[in-house]
């Protein structure tokens, strides 16, 4: 019976190919859609963790910049500074817990590329947002001119990178975060100040009336116990002039909204393709059984039981769906995994692929779901085959 199912499939290559393509499409849609939605969700989680502070305080003029949110959240290169006296005023506000300053600097195109890199300097003594990520790959202290490269930078531990003529050594490389951290270079306060000074010496930076030695780009703040981030934001915005405080959660609301819209659209697309696919599979199996009624009647006359005929139809369906699903899964993985960078750029949203185990689980689930759907669609036809009246069919009355 097994070889008969194989012969039936190879004997009708066009029908088999159509069913295989349909099963492949179902698996591809389920796998691609689910992986994309999961990656977007993981990217947003990573972005929330990456902000890592309850409140972010930036100079007010920075918020007028068109690229402000892109600089802070999407890793676009850019910089803004405020005098550290304003930072000290913020620190004196009631309800301020942990505080750490950060310094932004955009490199010019380095020797290998025309694309500039965002450099973020942090104070290792007070930092609580960047250090947890760095500690995952590097346990040591960053020395002068040591840098940590984001995972999307094609630089490895020990490599030398030159910024504004200052040669820096890559001390560590961050794990993939799916956020702007992946294309950023991190370094300590002394190194970034040296880089800023070098950029000034070369006339490539303009601090206007701010003293570079007494400047910070932003303050990352955690609210003290008993103070809510909302209260702290209001307090800073009311009492400290020329700065703007943001609650981290509010900053990613826009991204979360876009992400929700994209996820919803993908889920609708998956549902549409599946409904269409199931209808086509049902029709295909029904038509196939109808045109093969005489073949099944002959098999019955030759001694095949009703259950064997039903089993034959199911076996054919399972074999086509399994081959199609496997092909769909392979194609889906070959597109999603190597080209995830292109998908991330196209969507312009945080995108972080799940771990290998989760990807394997989603793939297996998509294949099983597709095969079961095919089997369920064929089960109706198998039931009809098991109930055919051999005499009527062979007489040609049906």
């Amino acid at each position: 019976m097994k070889s008969l199912a194989m012969k039936n499939l190879s004997g009708r290559p066009v029908r088999t190919a159509v069913l295989v393509i349909l099963a492949a499409l179902l698996t591809f849609t389920a796998l691609g859609g689910t992986l994309t939605v999961a990656s977007l969700g993981k990217g947003l989680d990573s972005l929330e963790a990456r902000l890592g502070a309850d409140v972010m305080v930036v100079p007010k003029e920075a918020t007028m910049k068109k690229k402000f949110e892109d600089i802070v959240l999407q890793g676009s290169t850019g910089y803004f500074y405020m005098d550290s006296s304003r930072a000290e005023e913020v620190m004196e506000c009631e309800g301020v817990g942990e505080v750490s300053p950060q310094f932004f600097l955009a490199s010019t195109g380095s020797s290998c590329c025309s694309i500039p890199v965002q450099i973020i300097g942090f104070d290792p003594a007070t930092d609580f947002t960047v250090s947890p990520w760095i500690k995952r790959t590097y346990g040591g202290e960053l020395g002068l001119y040591d840098i940590v490269a984001g995972s999307d930078l094609n630089a490895f531990v020990g490599d030398k990178l030159s910024f504004y003529g200052v040669e820096c050594t890559v001390a560590a490389k961050l794990e993939k975060t799916g956020t702007s951290y992946d294309t950023t270079v991190f370094t300590n306060e002394q190194t970034i100040k040296a880089l800023i000074q070098s950029s000034l010496d070369k006339g490539m930076n303009d601090f206007k009336d701010i003293d570079p030695a007494r400047s910070v780009s932003c303050l990352m703040i955690n609210a003290a116990d008993g103070t809510s981030p909302e209260e702290l934001v209001n307090d800073i915005n009311i009492h400290v002039k020329k700065v703007k405080a943001y609650r981290s959660g509010d900053m990613i609301n826009g991204i979360a909204g876009s992400l929700g819209g994209v996820s919803q659209m993908i889920k609708l697309l998956i549902a549409a393709v599946w409904v269409l696919g199931i209808v086509i599979l049902l029709l295909a199996f029904t038509m196939s059984v109808n045109e093969r009624k005489k073949e099944f009647a002959v098999l019955r006359v030759m001694g095949a039981s009703r259950s064997k005929l039903a089993g034959l139809v199911l076996k054919e369906a399972l074999m086509t769906c399994l081959i199609g699903s496997a092909a769909g899964a392979v194609i889906g993985l070959l597109i999603l995994i190597p080209f995830n960078g292109v998908i991330e750029q196209t969507l312009s949203l945080p995108f972080l692929l799940p771990e290998a185990g989760s990807i394997a689980g989603i793939t297996a689930a998509a294949v099983v779901l597709s095969v079961l759907t095919g089997a369920a669609a064929a089960a109706v036809s198998a039931w009809r085959v098991s109930r055919i009246d051999t005499g009527v069919i062979l007489r040609g009355d049906n």
Binding site: C113, D152, N154, T183, G341, V342
Partner: protein, 137 residues
């Protein structure tokens, strides 16, 4: 000896893959463009190397399709294995690409060349196996 339908199919697939490699790397999954000063980044030279290897693979694929001797065809198909694998290794392994992996050379050229190179190598292996089984039959 007359060649089988399977040989024709795999031969044509090899030619398609080779043409995808050579034309695609220039037209579709190309490297990053030149810098503002007109100079090229390193990924440009990886693109040139892949293009050259793609042209060689296309020439070998044409030879596979026109060679009358099955032994020669098999030998040429086997040569596609290191050629495909070599092409797959060019972006970033043999020739470094740009600094940021979200740039076009990393995000598009590298995965596309690796996939097409690997598929070409596998097709070359299948062709050689099909050719051998036809010969022994």
């Amino acid at each position: 000896m007359k060649r089988s339908g399977k040989e024709w199919i795999f031969g044509i697939l090899l030619l398609i893959c080779s043409l995808c490699m050579s034309a695609g790397v220039k037209l579709v999954f190309h490297a990053c463009g030149p810098k503002e000063d007109g100079s090229f980044m390193t990924c440009h030279w990886a693109e040139q190397a892949v293009f050259t290897l793609g042209c060689v693979m296309a020439a070998v694929s044409v030879l596979i399709l026109i060679m009358p001797d099955s032994g020669m065809r098999r030998g040429l198909a086997l040569a596609m294995i290191p050629a495909g694998a070599g092409a797959a290794l060019i972006p970033n392994t043999m020739i470094k690409l740009c600094m940021m992996t979200d740039m076009h050379c990393h995000a598009v050229m590298k995965p596309a060349v690796i996939i097409i190179g690997a598929v070409s190598a596998v097709l070359g292996l299948i062709y050689a196996a099909v050719c051998k089984s036809e010969r022994s039959a």
